[in-house]
């Protein structure tokens, strides 16, 4: 469930970057202050382990389908929330850089969805209290399943919120959520099952590794609350400034059929959108009059004047030719 750069608007991406950067520096401070120095190499190697283990496919009993490990919860159970969060950040960063999973702009979103939720929400609020100090095998299973499902539901919801408030997709909020949440229920169950099985093995073979099961401390809870409020605030702000997200939710709420949304309904929404949005289409254009004066500027939805489009297509072809030509020339120059 990696978010990708292409699905994220700079405002949403930037907001998530800011939130995750703040969280990462908090986690780093906690780790530098409290973590036993022997955990430094452990974090690194466990990160590599989770990364590699994500590539093994596991069959889900009774279904014939398969899934793989996400790892945030497992890391939290072994390292505690702060070190686990940093480890997830490093995994996501390497995936974004080397494997083009997600992307740099979407990295903040991914850190929130796959790091914050499992490490700082699901682990301290669900896993730790449910598993208890001396977890039995059954309690590990219950705790891991519950926490993993909750973590993935939150993560999936994060994806939906971020995508919709970025306004790149036309999927209405409710439809997208209805698509994402049930799929991630299944994925969450697999994640929980894999995590629980691995933890049960560790409990049997090396119980000393599972000693971090402390409940949520007050600072963690407080940080969580502040962050949740900040994230929610940022998201709703971007959502409200974004006409498309609004349009969808209104359309969904009023029960209009989207597939035939042409003609009067759409004109109505177009007008509504223009009235409601004070940051139209997030493209920082100066002001409406100027935008109309400079015809070369990408004009906002709904329509592009035909003349501009002929020019646009001709220009586009020339630009492409120029870009390729310049590239080839540079390549030639670099060889000599």
């Amino acid at each position: 469930m990696h978010m990708a750069d292409a699905l994220v608007s700079p405002v949403v991406g930037g907001a998530m970057w800011a939130a995750s950067a703040g969280l990462a520096s908090y986690a780093a401070k906690q780790v530098q202050k409290n973590l036993d120095e022997s955990k430094v190499p452990l974090m690194g190697v466990l990160g590599a382990f989770v990364f590699a283990a994500q590539m093994i496919n596991f069959t889900i009993p009774g279904t014939g389908s398969s899934g793989h490990l996400g790892g945030g919860l497992l890391l939290a159970a072994l390292l505690g929330p702060h070190a686990a969060f940093l480890t997830v950040v490093s995994i996501l960063a390497v995936q974004a850089l080397f494997f083009a999973d997600g992307g740099l702009l979407a990295l903040g979103c991914n850190i929130i969805n796959m790091g914050l939720f499992p490490c700082y929400v699901a682990y301290p609020l669900l896993y730790a209290p449910l598993a208890g100090k001396q977890p039995s095998k059954a309690r590990i299973f219950i705790a891991a399943l519950t926490a993993a499902v909750a973590g993935l539901q939150l993560g999936a919801f994060g994806v939906v919120l971020q995508t919709v408030s970025s306004g790149v997709t036309s999927l209405p909020f409710s439809t997208f959520a209805l698509l994402m949440q049930p799929i991630h229920l299944a994925i969450g169950l697999v994640e929980g099952l894999i995590t629980a099985t691995a933890l049960a093995f560790i409990r049997r073979e090396a119980p000393s590794l599972l000693r971090h099961q402390t409940g949520a401390s007050r600072t963690v809870l407080l940080t969580m609350l502040v962050l949740a409020l900040a994230t929610g605030g940022l998201l709703s702000w971007t959502a409200s400034t974004n006409p498309d997200g609004l349009e969808w939710s209104i359309a969904a709420a009023s029960g209009e059929e989207e597939l035939t949304a042409e003609g009067p309904v759409h004109t109505f929404f177009a007008e509504l959108q223009e009235k409601l949005s004070f940051l139209p289409d997030y493209n920082f254009k100066p002001d409406p009059e100027q935008a109309q004066l400079t015809e070369a500027k990408p004009t906002a939805w709904p329509a592009v004047a035909p003349g501009t489009s002929v020019a646009g297509i001709t220009g586009a072809l020339i630009t492409l030719l120029l870009a390729f030509g310049a590239g080839k020339a540079l390549q030639h120059a670099a060889k000599h």
Binding site: H2, I202, W301, G315, L320
Partner: protein
Amino acid sequence: MRNIVTAWLDLHYLDDLARQASFFHRLHPAGKLVITLAFAVTAASFDKYEIAGLLPLFFYPLAVMALGRLPSSRLLQRLLLVSPVVLLVGLFNPLLDRTPHDVAGLFTIAGGWLSFLSLTLKLTLTTTAALLLIATTKLPAIGAALRQLGLPRALVVQLLLLHRYLFVLLEEVGRIAQACELRSAPGKGLPYGAWGSLLGQLLLRTVSRAERIYQAMRCRGFDGEIRLLMLRPMQARDYWHLLAWCGFFLLCRFVNLPHAFGHFLLEVL
């Protein structure tokens, strides 16, 4: 789903590319990092229906490939493997967004198709940019740059250790997964009964490896702090380079170059 061997090969391949010594490779990593971010932000900030305006941005990846002596075919090939989920999400656009858009005054097209195409272009641009960064900059150098830009030491050390042991663990996990595959039904994943012990064994091995690394660190006076190599400061050419690219991105963002070209051409004719 990526396979472990491919991932390992990819890591090595990108590492090989990053080891070259072209003009672009020698630029300061912090500068390249900022350029890449600026590029991703620029591409993502375009309107959801924008197509023509995105095209001039292709000059950046093409120039880097040329200056960095990178094989464009291999890198573009990798793009095809990228995130089908994104395209899946995008594919709903043509279905749901039927706002008519005039194309060249010739025919009308649903806005959804435009936004889908725009999404695909953005995806291509941003993923290429990330790949190009890593194909021209070694990860340790990126780590040092992040440190220079003020990221917490614990995070940078974690990133570097993860990258270092990724090579080792991918090999190890790959061997085990292969051994399992040889003994399980073809085409299926690992049966449930085998999960626990396989993952658990791997985990235990990983933990004991971490213990040995810690011992090796202690033997050489480890006191909880890992001292990383410092980078040279940014030089004039690094700044010029950074300014030039950011200027180009801003130009692309605020002046629709293809439109301008088109108008110019139509007027001349």
